[in-house]
């Protein structure tokens, strides 16, 4: 690589890739890694400074995350949390790939959960556990899919902004879930507004030798299947075409009305499924006014994974550890669980900024003149390739 022999005016971006595709693919992966991890690191650093400003110790916090999220047997708790999170991530990816903003995840999740916690006790009493589990899963997915019809139809027919409609529907869904828990599904044996507890032997079984329920395996398999469908089948291609341009999709014969309704239904159905699996795997009952806001937290990581279900798994794992450990760690550091929201928001901000800087570099639209810019960029690239 001789820098000086290259023509002076040729912009770096138009340089033909001299090495074979293998190396450029390697660089793309490194680039992708940097772009995915950098925002998280920057967010954690800034969050640390905010903690300092608020008089808490960031070191104690991060140490607590390690202690309560990973060490000892705690990594198992993190994996249990991953089960619903990965499924929600897949659900969001399906909608986002079609350029549909399904932001109604909180309501969809709680409605799915209430199907399991409310109907579950009755079903488990009269039929074998496997059959009841199956019925609950199908029921939750259907409830989620039907719930998404209003935003989907409004979007497909009138182009009404689905961000707003799905969000508003989410608030209504949360309200309905609470009403159901306080009303028809309330456990009469306690004064607390909560559903009846499903006995342990009816819940999803553990993976042998661990305390992780099989929902974790279901979630991982689902992500792999989703990855295959999205990247290797004609349906995945149709989705991408539709997402890139609904107009172009119409020209190649894709029914966009149907596509909007279908993608919304799959997305919302999966998120409701996550709710039911969380109840049957972990919680065994549901309290009123409980809302974990999983979707809010998972969204940035879905973007960082470039809407790829497989790439989302490690990022979700990271968040699961942060959330599992962070709940206790935040209390210890004199903060509150809600501080996790700040970290997630910062990740989103730094993600857009990293994206911006990255695009600038690649498109050669730098504010610096080309020659000066190359001397700045080259050493960085060479170092990056050598050390990574």
């Amino acid at each position: 690589m001789s820098i000086d022999t290259e023509p002076e005016l040729k912009p770096a971006a138009q340089r033909p890739e001299p090495m074979g595709t293998e190396q450029s693919r390697g660089r793309a992966i490194v680039d992708g890694l940097v772009r995915s991890i950098l925002p998280v690191l920057l967010a954690l650093i800034v969050a640390g400074f905010i903690m300092l400003a608020m008089g808490s110790s960031p070191l104690a916090f991060f140490q607590g995350v390690w202690t309560y999220g990973l060490s000892g047997g705690n990594w198992q708790r993190s994996l249990v949390l991953m089960a619903p999170l990965v499924i929600i991530a897949v659900g969001l990816i399906v909608a986002f790939r079609g350029q549909l903003w399904n932001l109604g995840y909180n309501g969809q999740y709680l409605l799915g959960a209430v199907v399991a916690s409310g109907v579950g006790p009755y079903l488990f009493a009269v039929m074998p556990a496997w059959l009841a589990t199956l019925i609950i899963f199908v029921g939750a997915i259907l409830v989620g899919a039907v719930w998404s019809l209003i935003p989907a139809i409004l979007k497909a027919r009138y182009g009404t902004n689905e961000i707003i409609t799905s969000l508003v529907m989410s608030f209504i869904g949360v309200g309905i879930a609470n009403l159901l828990i306080k009303g028809p599904f309330k456990d009469p044996s306690t004064p607390q507004p909560q559903t009846a507890v499903i006995p342990d032997d009816q819940l999803l079984p553990y993976i042998p030798g661990t305390q992780i329920h099989v929902g974790f395996i279901i979630a991982i398999v689902l992500a792999i299947v989703a990855q295959f469908v999205l990247t290797r089948t004609s349906f995945g291609l149709r989705m991408d075409v539709f997402g890139a341009s609904p107009k172009a999709a119409r020209h190649v014969g894709i029914n966009s009305t149907w596509m909007v309704i279908l993608l919304f239904a799959i997305s919302s159905g999966l998120i409701a499924f996550a709710g039911s699996i969380d109840v049957l795997g972990q919680y065994s009952y549901q309290r009123a006014n409980w809302d974990p806001h999983y979707g809010d937290a998972i969204m940035p990581f879905v973007f960082l994974a470039r809407l790829s279900p497989l790439a989302a798994i490690p990022l979700v794992a990271f968040y699961a550890i942060l959330a599992t450990g962070g709940t206790l760690a935040a209390q210890q550091a004199g903060l509150n669980v809600d501080f996790l929201l700040v970290i997630v928001g910062l990740i989103l901000l730094f993600m857009t900024i990293t994206e911006y800087v990255g695009e600038r570099r690649r498109l050669g639209q730098s504010y610096l003149p080309a020659g000066l810019r190359r001397t700045l960029v080259r050493p960085f690239q060479r170092d990056g390739r050598g050390s990574l």
Partner: protein, 311 residues
């Protein structure tokens, strides 16, 4: 049923409608200014919370409700700075930034409140009222409307002023041009960037005022997630009102009635679950959207960062 029309009931109802309408009205006006200039602010929920928290803290420490409102406006402006720099100046994805601002606003205000004020359970108390001479003596209406705090009247004046400025002045024309066809504003010698920057800051001030009105006057206290989706309702109202302040006022008032009617009915003995009361405004909103789906219009350049010469 005779309770329905009793003097106390109507008085409480009207006062409660005003208390619920004003925060939403101010936030919607703020969002309208931004949207007319072509900036869709999805972070309004977070900005409102920042305004509500700063308004609460300033009122609690200084004891002045007026300074509290000012603090709320400043908080809103600070909250909107992220939008200004990242979206207007750098042209980054506004949906992602909006969600980030919402999350950070929710998280930071909740943590700060729990850290500093949760144990004291502080309440700000009653706002001093400003009876309008003569009118304040009218039965029912006099007590409910004409004995409001002076803040209410000033805020109402601000809202009407924005309506006038947007519709009748050069500033309003430039702002609307920045949302309708930024290139035409550019060609006429105006600066799209400066117009949008001013609009975003003013928008932040109004959204912050809305949050502060909620914490300082309506609830007289602060808790985490106080707004509970009010910001998103403001976005819907802005979409349905198509930039007309008069329509913003009417739709906000409908929302205020929807929120106030539940507790008022509870007062006279109807048992309505709290969850239904909380859901009611959202149900009204979604029904409105279903009925008027076709007439929700936004400016053509909404959300598109302006790049000179780009097509």
């Amino acid at each position: 049923m005779s309770d329905m029309l009793s003097v106390t009931f109507v008085t409480v109802l009207v006062a409660s409608v005003i208390a619920q309408t004003m925060p939403l009205l101010l936030a919607s006006v703020g969002e309208t200014i931004g949207e007319q200039a072509g900036v869709l602010n999805l972070g309004i929920e977070g900005v409102m919370l920042i305004g509500a928290y700063s308004g609460f803290v300033v009122t609690l420490t200084t004891g002045s409700f007026w300074l509290g409102m000012l603090g709320g406006a400043l908080g809103g402006i600070v909250g909107n700075l992220a939008m200004l720099v990242l979206n207007v100046w750098l042209g980054l994805n506004q949906i992602v930034i909006g969600l980030a601002v919402t999350l950070i606003g929710e998280g930071i205000t909740s943590v700060l409140y729990l850290q500093n004020y949760a144990k004291a359970n502080a309440s700000l108390g009653q706002t001093p009222s400003l009876p309008i001479p003569g009118l304040a003596d009218i039965p029912v209406i006099g007590q409910a409307v004409f004995q409001q705090s002076g803040i209410f009247w000033v805020m109402l004046l601000f809202v009407l002023a924005v309506g006038f400025l947007l519709a009748k002045t050069n500033w309003g024309l430039a702002t609307r041009a920045a949302g309708q066809k930024p290139s035409s504003l550019d060609a006429a010698g105006g600066s799209v960037l400066r117009t949008r920057s001013i609009a975003v800051l003013l928008s932040g001030a109004f959204v912050g005022l809305g949050g502060a009105y909620l914490s300082v006057l309506t609830t007289a206290t602060f808790t985490g997630f106080l707004t509970n989706g009010l910001g998103f309702i403001a976005i819907v109202i802005t979409m349905l009102s198509r930039g007309r302040i008069a329509l913003v006022m009417i739709t906000s008032l409908i929302y205020g009635v929807a929120v106030a009617i539940g507790p008022a009915l509870q007062v006279i003995g109807f048992a309505i679950p709290a969850d239904v009361i909380k859901m009611l405004p959202f149900i009204v909103v979604i029904l409105t959207l279903i009925v008027f789906a076709r007439s929700s219009v936004v400016p053509p350049a909404l959300g598109a960062p302006y790049v000179r010469g780009a097509r």
